[in-house]
Each structure stands twice: as structure tokens, then as C-alpha cells.
């Protein structure tokens, strides 16, 4: 694996992150925004693993485990919030609930 291969993997990781960011910004349903957030988080995961493979260092996979933990906690809290918002506001459109105060 040469440096240009690492740059190729980094471009792929950046593309994954960009697609996820586009999804978070463009979608309105909260569930779809959470899915797009998962896509966005997988970009840095690929970058960490590719860099760890380039340097033959286990720290890349260690960071991937921390990213997985973060994603699990974030999805659990986000989905609980989604259920709660749908129960109280009667909608899961992030435009509808963006007007709330306090």
C-alpha cells in the first residue's frame, strides 16, 4: 500500500462523509437524518482503518471501536428522542419541530 493508495481511500472516506452530510441536510424525516448520520460516521471509520492499515498500527482499529460506541449511543438517544417527539408533537418532520421554544 503506497501513499497514493492511502489518498484514494481517504477520497472514498471523504465521499462517504459528504454523502452523509448531504443526507442530514437534505432529508426532513428524522429517521432518514439518523440513517444519513450513520453513513456520515462510516466515512471517518474508513479513514481511521485505512490509515491504520497504511502504518500497520492497531490504533486505527481502536479508533473504529470508539466510533462504533459513539454511533451506538447516538442512535439509541436519537431514536428515543424520535419516538418522544412523535408522541408529543405528532410529527417526525424536523421542519415542523424546529419552531419550538425553550
Amino acid at each position: 500500500m503506497t501513499g497514493s493508495d492511502l489518498i484514494g481511500m481517504m477520497i472514498l472516506a471523504a465521499g462517504l462523509f459528504a454523502i452523509g452530510l448531504f443526507g442530514v441536510l437534505a432529508r426532513r424525516g428524522i429517521l432518514f437524518q439518523l440513517v444519513a448520520l450513520e453513513v456520515a460516521l462510516s466515512g471517518p471509520a474508513l479513514a481511521f482503518v485505512a490509515a491504520g492499515a497504511y502504518h500497520a498500527d492497531p490504533q486505527g482499529q481502536g479508533m473504529l471501536i470508539l466510533v462504533l460506541t459513539l454511533a451506538a449511543a447516538e442512535v439509541a438517544v436519537g431514536l428515543a428522542l424520535l419516538l418522544r417527539i412523535r408522541r408529543t408533537a405528532g410529527s417526525d418532520d424536523s421542519d415542523v419541530i424546529s419552531g419550538m421554544k425553550g
Partner: protein
């Protein structure tokens, strides 16, 4: 030439991600998310990170997507959505067909062999464990605290207001 497999699987994950974030149907988006995660796991495997690949399948595709499915199951299914689904099925085959052909391509053109050397020096699970429970023990503790905070937060947010004995 396993590096080509890594780049190919990464590009495959890119295509699946682009499809996943543009689906109007929640279940379709989740299925393409699973396809993206499996392609990413293949890329990790080709990069010599077999432990990371297995972890990605177990935790992401096995646990996190199940959480999503639980929430999708609480959505009400109306008769209109079923008829819309049936009408949409007529034009729904090109994208899955494209992904299936793409996933078959490395086998059809057998030049991306998985066997043999990987793209980089493989990092074993033993090395990762030695890192996590040695110099990174504090990070593991912080991750466990994060999971505990998430658990308590979900318990607090998801509590029903009318539950007997629970505070309002």
C-alpha cells in the same frame, strides 16, 4: 492485488450510501444502509483489518440497524402506503439489480483475489486488544461511560408520562 478489492468495495459502499440517503421509504433506506455496511466490511477485510470488519457487521449491521427496525415497526402502516408500495415495486428492480451485478463483478473477473497477501500488513485482533486494554484503557472507560449515559438518557426520554409510580 487485494488493494483493488478495497478500493472497489469502498466505491461500492459509496454507491450504496448515495442510494440509501435518497430513498423515500424507511425500510428501503435501512436495507441499502446494510448493503453499505457490508461493502465497508469487505473493504476493511481487504485492508487487513479483519477484526474491524467483523465488529462492523456484528455491531452496526447486527445491533444498530435492529434498533432502527424496532422504531420503523412502531410506524403505522396505512393501506395507502401498501398500495403505493405495490405500485412502486414495478419500477423498483433496476437499483437492486445494479448492486447485485456490481457485487458479482469481482467474482466474474477473478483478478481481485482475496486469498494471499492483503493490501497492507494485517493488524490482528490481539494487537488491537493489547492496545485497548493497555495504553487506551482510559478511552475504553470513557466509552463505557458514554454508553451508560446513553442508557440512562434513553430510559429517561422514553419513559411514559402515565406510568404508575413514575414521576411526571
Amino acid at each position: 492485488m487485494s488493494l483493488w478489492l478495497a478500493i472497489y468495495a469502498g466505491g461500492f459502499a459509496l454507491v450504496s450510501a448515495a442510494i440509501a440517503v435518497t430513498r423515500p421509504n424507511a425500510v428501503h433506506a435501512l436495507l441499502y444502509l446494510v448493503v453499505m455496511l457490508l461493502a465497508l466490511a469487505v473493504a476493511f477485510f481487504a485492508l487487513g483489518a479483519a477484526f474491524a470488519a467483523v465488529l462492523l457487521i456484528l455491531i452496526y449491521a447486527g445491533a444498530i440497524v435492529v434498533l432502527f427496525v424496532f422504531v420503523v415497526m412502531t410506524l403505522p402502516i396505512s393501506p395507502e402506503s401498501i398500495t403505493r408500495e405495490r405500485a412502486g415495486l414495478r419500477g423498483a428492480w433496476p437499483l437492486p439489480l445494479l448492486l447485485s451485478v456490481l457485487i458479482l463483478a469481482p467474482f466474474l473477473f477473478g483478478e481481485f483475489g482475496i486469498a494471499g497477501n492483503t493490501a497492507a500488513a494485517p493488524v490482528s485482533a490481539q494487537q488491537v486488544g493489547r492496545l485497548l486494554f493497555g495504553p487506551w484503557a482510559l478511552a475504553v472507560e470513557l466509552a463505557s461511560l458514554l454508553l451508560l449515559a446513553g442508557l440512562v438518557g434513553v430510559r429517561h426520554i422514553g419513559r411514559s408520562d402515565r406510568s404508575p409510580g413514575g414521576r411526571p
